[in-house]
Subunit: 200 residues, 2 copies
């Protein structure tokens, strides 16, 4: 077994928790925001710009467009440059050995590079996700929770489509997609571990 596991996930579907548990069970590193920090260190970009980049391509662009129309071109270039460094960091992690990488289009980056990996997408219905986001944020207003979920998913969708040209959540982009609401987090962890440990 020498596989890298990438996890894409809808907001509130438990992808972070599932990915972390998978990494623990397999005894391999788990990379989430570490990637961003590593990007900052390696690239020398303004840390604030890198933090701003995140997944919200559309929002940050419009923000910059509002401030100064000329700077949106500059920001687009900067954003692409940050993404390039992020890609290099992901490839570096993958070369180090088996690991779990969350988000950041790692599935597409590693596929393009021909790396052997298992690309997983975690989703769940709105109710399961609202309950989870409520637990994470303390918000108990259903309308607010729906808005938060829609906004975060929209950002991830835009980010993924922008950098891969593919549809986020389309089963064909992943080796395995799992409904964490119906199956439960523990079952999702077991299934991913089982897939990672399977002989080819």
């Amino acid at each position: 077994m020498n596989k890298i596991i990438t996890i894409s996930r809808e907001y509130g579907a438990g992808g972070h928790s599932i990915g972390k548990q998978v990494a623990e069970k397999l005894g391999i590193p788990f990379y989430d925001r570490d990637i961003v920090r590593e990007t900052v260190k390696a690239s020398g970009f303004d840390p604030e710009l890198v933090e701003e980049e995140q997944e919200d391509v559309s929002r940050t662009n419009s923000f910059f467009k509002t401030i100064c129309s000329a700077s949106s071109i500059y920001y687009n270039d900067t954003q692409e440059a940050i993404h390039d460094v992020q890609r290099a960091v992901i490839l570096h992690f993958a070369q180090e050995g088996p690991c779990v990488i969350l988000g950041r289009c790692a599935d597409d980056i590693l596929r393009q590079a021909g790396a052997e990996c298992i690309n997983v997408f975690i989703h769940a219905d709105e109710t399961h996700r609202a309950v989870r986001v409520s637990e994470l944020t303390g918000c108990t207003n259903a309308t607010e929770l729906q808005k938060m979920i829609a906004k975060k998913d929209g950002s991830r969708h835009t980010y993924y489509n922008h950098y891969t040209g593919k549809k986020w959540g389309d089963s064909h982009n992943y080796h395995m997609t799992l409904d964490s609401g119906a199956l439960g987090y523990d079952t999702c962890v077991k299934l991913i571990v089982e897939a990672a440990q399977a002989e080819d």
Copy 2:
């Protein structure tokens, strides 16, 4: 464990073989074309019409339209009626106890009925599928294989969209989607069995 497993699948992705093995491992019935035969028996429809119905909604409609423009309306009604009986048969099988049901929009029919089930979609890249279809049909012409795969997938896509209003292969319609080309049939069988046996 008292779950029904539905399997939707791309042509040549091994869904039939995987579904059959899952049923054997769990010691539960496997329903494929049996559903059609049961429909014939239960409905009293012309067996040829029922066989014709299959998944090729677009082709049969255009065929009937070519023969006689008025009959396409009749055929649409007949087709819907056949689908209704098929739905009743699927619900009957599901009520009998745990089983594996292949295709026929069983995932959507059982979801609508509130049945507890695991809906699986099996897909694979074109090369894996071409090799499989070659093995199944004896055809060794790559262009012919591509045409056969595209035609069969188109039919299943149209059939699924027509009766469910949803996109065939969209991860959100399934509890689990698996790339049988990358993961291998045996791993797919193991993962589905594991999901079926998991405690909620």
